[in-house]
């Protein structure tokens, strides 16, 4: 694959005004062997995350978001073959022996998943679960740890923390459970929190409350966050930088403002165009693209988006390198959309063009 060249150079996020790198992922590849079929779940993913920053990883179902995150935590099944590099403050995480990894998990990197019910033990009071997590990462006495647990429950704004301490998970609402899961994740005072669709199952009001909480924790504790989501609005609202994944690779990377103001990669454009927006009038047809994401066991040659891309040409049979084409803006595409700022007169309906522009609506103030 010739697209690897650029990926092994400095990953996106490095550069002139880059801060202190907390995590550097380079050319990460994860493959599963399943009944003689090779599933290419992650195919050369690179990114960099600075201490205390929020990075969003967005992409459709099956694009490799969760697998790439679990790789960092050493949480893949034995059938996974992993290559590339993932350095956390210079220490290589890939290939780290499980015993050593256990010391990192929770203490340096913690993860919060979509379904809070599955992350909690239904038969144990929540106070005991947090206390146990705290004691796993420190040599506090039971009493000290219990006091700290109540502190953590207050930190995540669980209402009536002292009383809830003695309740079981089923006595809490979904939003409260996710707060408890976050409190447990904070027990080891991690420097990186990976939130994998952590608010997807929640109501919009509860989702916004939990996101506000994560933002507050990031600011108060200086903790970095990887926000894994398929929700572009969420990424735009909370992340500093955004990685867009398609078929196991990064296809676009930029700061949130830059990315959404100047989308270049046709896949990102298609994603943006397809979300129902409050700004559109009812019954507006959505700009759609045909087809479905490729089967990770049979990826097409060249650009993985080629079979669905309106701008594709024969050039796209070669994999486009993922490179920094403009300062701070990376993409992998042979025919990127023009910067709308340079070419304001362009027809939004043009193929491969501004899929991302919504149908102009009539909502005026």
């Amino acid at each position: 694959m010739s697209g690897e060249r650029a990926d092994t150079l400095a990953p996106p996020g490095s550069g002139r005004d880059a801060g202190r790198a907390l995590l550097e992922v380079r050319d990460l590849r994860v493959r599963f062997s399943r009944g003689g079929r090779r599933v290419h779940a992650v195919n050369g993913l690179s990114y960099r995350l600075n201490a205390g920053e929020i990075l969003a990883i967005i992409g459709e179902s099956g694009s490799g978001k969760s697998v790439s995150a679990r790789t960092l935590m050493g949480l893949l099944p034995p059938s996974a073959q992993v290559s590339g590099s993932a350095r956390f403050e210079g220490t290589e995480l890939l290939g780290m022996p499980e015993r050593e990894m256990r010391g990192w998990r929770g203490a340096e990197i913690a993860m919060v998943f979509q379904d809070p019910a599955r992350s909690l033990n239904p038969t144990m009071r929540i106070g005991a679960q947090i206390t146990e997590a705290i004691r796993a990462h420190s040599d506090m006495s039971r009493k000290q740890a219990a006091a700290r647990a109540v502190e953590l429950l207050k930190l995540v704004h669980l209402p009536a923390a002292e009383r809830r301490f003695y309740e079981y998970p089923h006595q809490l609402s979904g939003g409260m459970r996710q707060r408890v899961v976050i409190a447990i994740a904070l027990a080891g005072e991690p420097r990186l929190l990976i939130a994998d669709e952590a608010t997807t199952a929640l109501d919009v009001t509860t989702q916004a409350q939990i996101m506000e909480l994560l933002l507050e924790l990031q600011q108060r504790l200086g903790m970095a966050i990887i926000l894994i989501s398929h929700d572009l609005g969420l990424a735009a609202s909370y992340a500093k930088n955004v990685v867009v994944m398609y078929a196991g690779r990064a296809v676009e990377y930029a700061s949130a403002e830059e990315l959404f103001a100047h989308v270049r990669m046709p896949y990102t454009q298609a994603l943006l165009g397809a979300i129902p927006l409050l700004e559109r009038e009812p019954h507006a047809l959505l700009p759609v693209i045909p087809g479905q994401p490729p089967d990770p066991a049979a990826l097409p040659a060249g650009c993985p988006f080629r079979p669905r891309c309106a701008a594709a040409t024969d050039a796209c049979l070669e994999p486009p390198p993922f490179e920094e084409h403009e300062p701070g803006h990376w993409w992998a595409c042979w025919h990127p959309a023009k910067d709308p700022a340079e070419d304001p007169a362009r027809d939004p309906g043009e193929p491969g063009g501004a899929h991302a522009r919504p149908v102009k609506d009539g909502v005026q103030g």
Binding site: V204, Y238, L271, E279, H283, V363
Partner: protein, 342 residues
């Protein structure tokens, strides 16, 4: 029973529908009741799409099931094409149901995994007595074409050989097989990825214009509901708190709860790249077993006053076609939202 679509009245007229479930209350106390749907009334005209939004547990699915009488609600009137379904016996109800179909969230779960796609789409035709096999086969091909699945490619497959979006198309083909007047969609696109979801939403739009379908479209996603709806109803803890024309309701919400929902949506405007940072309401939603007295939103409402605890606000119509159940609706504070959306 004769059902005609040309009848002058509304397609669907729902009056004071109540549905409750007996459950164990806090601490396992027996005899508690979930007030899932409380005195809900609304109307739908033929060809119209009514969106229903609300948080989890607000009673959207229970309302949908009450409309199709599965199960029959505790009390109220559900008049469909001029007939009150609440009074019908089993056989008459089965006959009436052919004019109202349901599409659910889980595209795989609603299809028998052992059947071929053609068999799945043929089933409702058999069930309602399309006798000739040739006619049925022709209709199946027509239906698959209509939902954008090539019968010669997909007809022989089984559900697990299709993607989620394709399965949902099969479910839609089944739903429209008997030319229903109303399709009830309960989170029908919630499990699909955005690009596939957009394809299915456009399909709903096309079928609406081509076949004159009406949808009762339920979703917790406000932007999604706006996309497809003529009018939108907002549910909160079993009650309808606001109903109005889609554009107007989002531009000028009258109920503080609608406004709180809108303020919670993270988003961006791809034209300007401008970001909308949510400002959600504080606190937890109250329990449907023991809802607050008076207005059920008052414990989280920034505008609540004494009257809100004493009197339950009735649905009234301060603007033509725009109803709200609130003692202190937001009519004057509306400019904020208008600004935000432009």
């Amino acid at each position: 029973m004769i059902m005609t679509r040309e009848a002058g009245g509304p397609l669907l007229d729902v009056r004071d529908v109540v549905q409750e479930f007996a459950v164990r209350g806090p601490g396992g106390v027996k005899g508690a009741k979930v007030h899932a749907v409380s005195n809900v009334s609304f109307e739908m005209r033929a060809g119209e799409t009514l969106g229903v939004v609300g948080e989890t547990g607000s009673g959207k699915s229970t309302l949908a099931r009450s409309v199709i009488q599965a199960p029959r609600p505790k009390s109220g009137v559900v008049s469909f094409l001029g007939t009150d379904l609440m009074t019908l016996g089993r056989r008459a109800l089965t006959e009436a149901r052919r004019h109202m179909q349901m599409v659910y969230q889980d595209p795989f779960g609603s299809l028998n995994p052992r059947w071929r796609i053609t068999e799945l789409v043929e089933e409702p035709l058999r069930g309602y007595g399309v006798r000739s096999a040739t006619q049925r086969r022709a209709r199946v091909a027509e239906l698959l074409d209509l939902v954008g699945l090539d019968p010669s490619v997909y007809g022989g497959r089984r559900p697990h050989e299709l993607s989620g979006g394709q399965c949902q198309r099969v479910a839609i083909a089944r739903a429209i097989a008997l030319n229903p007047a109303l399709i009830v969609c309960d989170e029908a696109v919630a499990s699909l990825d955005v690009l596939i979801q957009a394809q299915v939403l456009n399909l709903f739009e096309r079928l609406r214009t081509e076949l004159g379908l009406s949808y009762l479209f339920i979703s917790h996603d406000l932007a999604l509901v706006k996309q497809v709806s003529d009018r939108v109803a907002v549910m909160h803890l079993g009650r309808l708190v606001e109903v109005g024309p889609a554009g107007e309701l989002y531009r000028r919400p009258l109920h503080p709860y609608t406004s709180a929902l809108l303020d919670s949506i993270p988003g961006l405007d791809p034209v300007t790249g401008r970001v909308r940072r949510p400002s959600p309401p504080a606190g937890e939603p109250p329990s449907p077993i023991n809802p607050p007295s008076g207005c059920r939103f008052r414990t989280r409402c920034p505008l609540a006053r004494e009257r809100c605890a004493q009197e339950s606000p009735e649905l009234r119509e301060p603007f033509p076609g725009h109803q709200v159940a609130c003692h202190f609706p937001l009519a004057s504070a509306s400019e904020d939202h208008e600004k935000r959306l432009t």
